[in-house]
């Protein structure tokens, strides 16, 4: 008798409140039906064994699904996860890195310098990326788990991202993406990482870039390459160019393939960036005189280095920009 009570309890506690009593009563009369008069414990166990694991029996009774997200929503769920998690993770990575750079106090101790600063900032960024990815994953999963349990429509077929039943017409809105035209996640991540590194270097150039020498057993930055004041005086146009770069990366993330429209946008952002680069580099106070002097000693050249350095930098910038623009059009116009 005692075992029967426990068995019924183990089934009914897993069921919604209103059906508990009825199912419990029915189960009890069924079990008693199956037992002979004056049954032994062995016979009782046999009967209970016939009914099986109470959890399984309860799951058969239950109308709630025994899974978080079923086949109807799973495909849409995965699609949304794959689309949203990279965006939020990258955005968090980015925002945190920028935040860290702006608040970076710029300690002069260069032993803890460039490498540590980069590791520290990257560490914060990666941590932020992970936690935002986990957050996004949680909320999307929660929304779908609720949908799964509240959706009254009986259709079992998998939905399309537009929340409608699939028809062959859906195919018309999907482009066929060739391997060469596809923009990989790695590509996008690389672009964002480059932008992040650029920002961190730009705002801390006088602490990070330059000639490192061993002074009193410590490696220290003795001659900074750039004049931070001059560099920073261009912050407005640099930020305009950066915003354009970031917007371009996110646009790439959304379209996921090279098109001629994307190639034109690529050209625009390249032109803007190289104009900014040329404007900044053509300032002859940008690079410290001490650095030129050091370079002159190092290379044993008798010439004035200032103009050649500026010209070569600008030429290199133009060549790379041109190559990138051409590459964009090549991919964008490919069939």
């Amino acid at each position: 008798m005692h075992l029967i009570d426990i068995y019924i309890q183990e089934v009914t506690r897993r069921l919604p409140g209103k059906s508990r009593d009825d199912i419990g009563l029915e189960l009890r009369s069924t079990i008693e039906d199956m037992l002979p008069e004056n049954y032994s414990e062995k016979e009782l166990k046999e009967v209970l064994n016939n009914l099986g694991n109470p959890a399984l029996l309860a799951s058969e009774y239950s109308e709630q699904p025994m899974y978080l997200i079923g086949p109807k929503y799973f495909d849409m769920y995965m699609t949304l996860l794959k689309m949203i998690i990279p965006i939020t993770a990258l955005l968090a990575f980015f925002v945190i890195i920028v935040e860290n750079i702006i608040t970076y106090s710029g300690e002069k101790d260069i032993v803890n310098g460039i490498i540590n600063v980069i590791i520290l900032i990257l560490g914060h960024g990666i941590w932020g990326m992970i936690s935002s990815a986990v957050q996004t994953f949680f909320w999307i999963t929660l929304v779908f788990a609720i949908l799964e349990r509240t959706d009254a429509s009986k259709g079992k077929s998998s939905l399309t991202p537009g929340w409608t039943e699939w028809t062959p017409d859906n195919l018309k809105s999907i482009p066929l993406i060739s391997k060469e035209k596809r923009i990989s996640t790695g590509d996008i991540f690389g672009s964002l990482l480059r932008i992040a590194i650029f920002i961190s270097v730009y705002f801390n150039a006088s602490d990070l870039l330059g000639v490192y020498e061993k002074v009193q057993g410590k490696i220290q930055l003795t001659i900074p390459t750039f004049n931070q004041e001059v560099l920073q005086s261009y912050w407005l146009i640099v930020i305009v160019a950066l915003i354009l770069e970031i917007a371009f990366v996110f646009y790439k993330l959304i379209v996921r393939q090279w098109t001629s429209k994307l190639a034109i946008m690529n050209m625009v952002r390249n032109i803007v960036s190289s104009i900014v680069f040329i404007v900044v580099f053509s300032n002859d106070r940008l690079i410290n005189d001490e650095f030129y002097a050091y370079l002159k000693d190092l290379l044993h050249v008798p010439l004035e280095l200032k103009n050649p350095v500026i010209i070569i930098s600008i030429l290199l910038c133009l060549v790379f920009t041109l190559l990138d623009i051409m590459q964009g059009f090549r991919k964008g116009n490919m069939k």
Binding site: S29, D33, L57, E60
Partner: protein, 115 residues
């Protein structure tokens, strides 16, 4: 191998259980009497499947239930509804059609194998 086979058999039989149960409910039955009735025709059914199945059928309004408290032990009796009978007849026709089709197919399989 045995495990795979038994899971395939379970899957194959899943839909037919409802047919078997509905066909026996023209007279009111309670849970255990239904099990015995089915076993007489050597249809074995997991009890953990049967009782939840009865409740589902009730929810779909194919059967209705009532508690009989006149005897020493209260019992819940299930009986097929008018709607249930209509559905049962259609399912029966569908079943006969399917078995005929399958028989032809499987016969063809044997003939092909002997070629």
């Amino acid at each position: 191998m045995d495990k795979l086979l038994s899971s395939l058999v379970t899957e194959l039989r899943r839909g037919t259980l409802m047919l078997a149960v509905l066909s026996q409910l023209r007279t009111p039955q309670y849970g255990y009497s239904l099990v015995q009735l089915l076993e007489e025709s050597s249809v074995s059914i997991e009890q953990s499947t049967l009782y939840p199945l009865l409740r589902r059928l009730e929810k779909q309004e194919l059967v209705e239930s009532s508690w009989d408290t006149t005897e020493s032990r209260p019992r819940k009796y299930y009986v097929i509804t008018e709607f249930g009978i209509v559905i049962l007849e259609q399912l029966k026709a569908e079943w006969e059609k399917t078995t005929k089709e399958l028989q032809n197919l499987l016969k063809g399989d044997v003939e092909n194998a002997s070629d």
